[in-house]
């Protein structure tokens, strides 16, 4: 059962292609990460799924409804958080949630209880009676998540839900999103790969408006990320750069990245790299401080995939 389906979804802004025939299927009850570099079409896709924007071609279904442009009835099935959520500055956080809840047809004690719950979950209980105009960007982001959840929708469309939050705030919101797994489908776009690794089951990566890959996070790691060795050395920057050049010339090396005194080597032949790498480092005259075979991160997958497509 799919909560979201896109079929050749296309959006052109004049001569600019925002989305170029996106095909996507999001299983019900999953936390789905929607990744892509800036300008890849993430926000465009989410706006099309909310019906706030009209596709140039293609179709989309959300929660079993075909998404029409500006058909308000199906919106009872979704919760939406915009990339930079904006609110009425004169309202308090609590007033906004009551207003939004009433637009969903809620009222009475059910609404009051739900407002209290979402304020608590979003960590805004203490600021509920303050004007939104005085909220920080992070607080507005939390309020945006709270209003998206107010109607307990089966599908949540979140555009960069953690972008304005500090690390603690991000952790808390990701925990909330994680708790929704199995109860609702969360479709979240983000450029923070660590967040995706922390909370998402499945990931889609889009590039230039097209789907590059869609798979569970673990499968992506196995399929795309080459094994990497992390090497920390002691020595001057020039010598570290020379070592990186030497390593790049070796037949078992796929790629080398350096950051100060840290060298990250992606191996084509894991066994040879494991055997020969320490010798090469020692031969360069640098002192080997740390040597480790690291688990490939989603960032490695993302970077490699983007490099391949270019």
């Amino acid at each position: 059962m799919m909560a979201i389906v896109c079929e050749k979804l296309t959006k052109h802004y004049g001569s600019v292609v925002g989305l170029d025939g996106l095909d996507l299927a999001v299983p019900t009850g999953t936390v789905f990460g929607f990744l892509g570099p800036n300008g890849a079409g993430k926000t465009t896709a989410i706006k099309l799924l909310t019906g706030l924007s009209r596709p140039t071609a293609g179709r989309a279904w959300v929660a079993g409804h075909e998404v029409p442009f500006d058909d308000h009835a199906f919106r009872g099935q979704i919760g939406y958080l915009a990339e930079e959520p904006r609110f009425y500055a004169w309202m308090t956080g609590r007033e906004l949630l009551i207003y939004v809840g009433r637009l969903f047809g809620m009222g009475g004690s059910t609404l009051t209880r739900r407002v209290d719950e979402t304020l608590e979950v979003a960590g805004l209980g203490a600021a509920a009676r303050r004007r939104i105009g005085g909220y920080s960007r992070g607080m507005r982001q939390r309020l945006g998540i709270a209003q998206a959840m107010i109607n307990s929708p089966p599908v949540l469309l979140l555009d960069e839900p953690c972008s304005a939050l500090d690390p603690i705030g991000r952790k808390e919101i990701l925990e909330v999103i994680g708790l929704l797994r199995g109860r609702a489908t969360v479709f979240m776009s983000t450029h923070i790969l660590a967040d995706v690794e922390r909370v998402c089951d499945t990931v889609a990566i889009i590039d230039r408006g097209r789907l590059a890959v869609q798979a569970p996070v673990e499968e992506l790691r196995e399929r795309y990320a080459a094994p990497a060795f992390l090497v920390q050395v002691e020595g001057s920057g020039g010598r570290v750069a020379a070592l990186a050049d030497d390593l790049r010339r070796l037949p078992w090396t796929l790629g080398v990245e350096i950051a100060e005194n840290e060298v990250r080597l992606f191996a084509r032949d894991l066994a040879r790299a494991r055997r020969e790498l320490p010798e090469v480092v020692v031969a360069s005259g640098l002192t080997l401080l740390h040597y480790e075979l690291v688990r490939p991160s989603l960032e490695d997958v993302f970077v490699r995939l983007m490099e391949e497509r270019q």
């Binding site: 500006d70 919106r75 009872g76 904006r86 004169w90 939004v100 009433r102 637009l103 969903f104 047809g105």
Partner: protein, 255 residues
């Protein structure tokens, strides 16, 4: 259902952002209270100016009456009132699109028609109350300064002025629905206001245009009533057309 929720929010917004207070102050102070005072004091002011200029200038001014106060009231409403109306109305839709709050509301189960109608109704109520307060203030001060003034006649004068301003409000609202920038909306609405004023002076067509309502109100205060039914009908049609066009245009906007 959603209309009443949206209207409630719009009215609270007008109140909490002090727009209602600003409109009421502008209308009551500049149109309601100032009009009879200016009418009363203008001859004395001119007399004091001419006497200070010496014997060279001599202007004979008739004794001011309630008619002058009504004339001043209409002039202030159609100038200061109209500008206040454009300034408040120009952001009604454009600002919500510009800020992104329209997307917040319209991503909920809300149709665009009640979204627009709630805004226009709230603006109509705010300006209606402002004009009503101004009319009461003007009538009271006119009675105090000039003596009795027939309430029925003054009510009709005020209603004609209200219909004229309602047309301008609907035009401003349409501009606000068309343009994403409230400055552009205000600029075009002001251009239409000037255009309607100029067209309202042209023979043959002037009796069909909203400006005739103000001319008719002036004539009514002089005890010389003229038929403004054609101008009233055209004005109501213009309001309806502006609202329908606002809906049509706004329905096509992507947010």
């Amino acid at each position: 259902m959603s209309f009443s929720i949206l209207l409630g929010k719009e009215l609270r917004e007008q109140w909490r952002t002090y727009r209602f207070l600003a409109v009421a102050i502008v209308f009551v102070a500049f149109s309601g209270l100032m009009s009879p005072i200016v009418a009363k004091l203008t001859p004395e002011l001119i007399e004091s100016l001419t006497s200070s200029a010496g014997q060279a200038i001599s202007i004979e001014l008739p004794e001011p009456t309630a008619v002058d106060a009504i004339g001043q009231f209409l002039k202030n409403l159609t100038q200061i009132g109209a500008i206040a109306l454009i300034l408040v109305g120009m952001g009604s839709v454009a600002l919500e699109r510009e800020r992104g709050t329209a997307a917040l509301v319209l991503s909920k189960p809300v149709s665009r028609l009640p979204f627009l109608m709630a805004k226009f109704t709230a603006l109509t109520l705010v300006f209606g109350v402002g004009l009503g307060l101004a009319a009461v203030a003007c009538w009271t001060y006119t009675v105090v300064l000039f003596g009795p003034l027939e309430p029925g006649m003054f009510l009709q004068v005020s209603l004609q002025a209200a219909l004229y301003l309602w047309v301008l409000l609907a035009v401003t609202f349409l501009c606000s629905a068309v343009f994403r920038s409230q400055i552009a909306a205000g600029g075009v609405a002001f251009g239409v206001y000037v255009g309607l004023s100029v067209l309202g002076m042209l023979p043959r067509i002037k009796e069909y245009l909203p400006r005739a309502l103000i001319e008719g109100a002036g004539a009514l205060s002089l005890g010389d009533p003229v038929d403004v039914s054609r101008a009233a009908a055209v004005s109501l049609m213009m309001v309806a057309i502006c609202l329908a066009a606002s809906w049509r245009v706004f329905e096509g906007h992507e947010l």
